[in-house]
Symmetry: C2
């Protein structure tokens, strides 16, 4: 029964990942670091969001970005170009990050510095990353307007464990049949407590609210300052 | 060494899938059915492409669509609404179709009818589906303009084994920093023999060329008629 054996190995790998993620979360608690895991399809605008908002956040806090991709270090380069520290993980085929990869990248950076925020940009994928806890305190899922409103119904797991949904690229609303209300309905159907923000890195809409959301999340974990 | 064991089981599952895919391809050869496997990110426009072009193809050929999704049968419903026969596979969490799922869906349909074309719309995902042969004769990958030009570099496997790249949603080019030439460059870097068509289901651009490409592909496999 090769299928049953595979499922069991998968479960035991997930359990080992959960343990490591819990240990990482505890380390972050001690250093008062808020960890945010960003999930979305390829090309939904995760890197663009970070490029447009982290320079502002980094004026008043210490920020690290850990980038996950199957191949290339393009995204870490983009983050560094806006003056924010970044580490690249290339998974070499794997469709998600796991807690061990993140821990290794964290160890390489955190030996030299302390951070108030660590952003983990997962591999662009709405399926696999959803099953892997990376030790984050907040999970954020992006849905870009061109992808269509129904993605929460079709990929429920990615939305079910999220704290915040960012509807991105809303500058494209005039050119597409996308209704934010309908996307909201699909998303709340999967996760009734989901907070939702509509954003555009082109027009700047919603970006201040996103930074404020991050600051509130860090205060909620560690108190002000 | 749980990692090595997992890799070996993965390899043996892939080998079993390859065998089943080869058998399926042979069955399709006997029935003179051209099988096309469509891959892309979520929301790149796979279903929209089929909705806009299969009714035309179905006027002169027998067409079946097999839809793959993690959840919901929305996509099969959409295809049926334009008058084309469709079967839905829901993978219930798996990030890709495999040859066995497709074979089962095929058996349910092909006992009652004969088809000239079978289109398999894979789960929206640029990583996992790339490793699974579904017995197809042609693999088609879609890249929508809002996703950005660099996806072939970041998800090379999905593009490496493809025969055709469809750059979709080109009606959005005026509103985005996407250069088709740059995407072409990235894609040909990964797969120098890739054919490339630029399409839009909104304006109709490239759709006739896509249907002609399909008809040429079927002729190349089985001769005219």
């Amino acid at each position: 029964m090769p299928e049953i054996k595979t499922v069991r190995i998968q479960e035991s790998l997930l359990a080992a990942n959960d343990d490591r993620a819990a240990a990482l979360r505890e380390r972050w608690r001690k250093s008062r670091t808020l960890a945010v895991n960003l999930l979305s399809s390829p090309g939904s605008g995760k890197t663009s969001l970070l490029e447009h908002t982290l320079p502002c956040l980094a004026e008043r806090a210490r920020v690290l970005v850990i980038e996950g991709d199957v191949e290339t270090d393009n995204d870490a380069e983009r983050i560094r170009r806006v003056g924010v520290e970044a580490r690249q993980i290339t998974t070499g085929g794997a469709c998600h990050l796991d807690a061990r990869m993140v821990e290794r990248a964290w160890d390489e950076s955190a030996s030299a510095a302390r951070y108030d925020y660590v952003f983990v940009e997962n591999v662009g994928n709405l399926v696999c990353p959803a099953s892997y806890d990376l030790g984050e305190h907040r999970r954020v899922v992006l849905l870009s307007v061109p992808e269509g409103e129904d993605k929460p119904a079709k990929y429920p797991r990615a939305f079910r464990d999220a704290d915040l949904l960012l509807v991105t690229k809303i500058d494209l609303l005039p050119y597409l049949d996308f209704r934010v209300e309908k996307a909201r309905h699909y998303a709340l159907d999967v996760q009734p407590d989901l907070e939702i923000l509509a954003t555009s890195t082109r027009t700047g809409q919603g970006l201040d609210e996103w930074v404020a959301w991050l600051e509130r999340a860090r205060s909620a974990e560690y108190g002000p300052g």
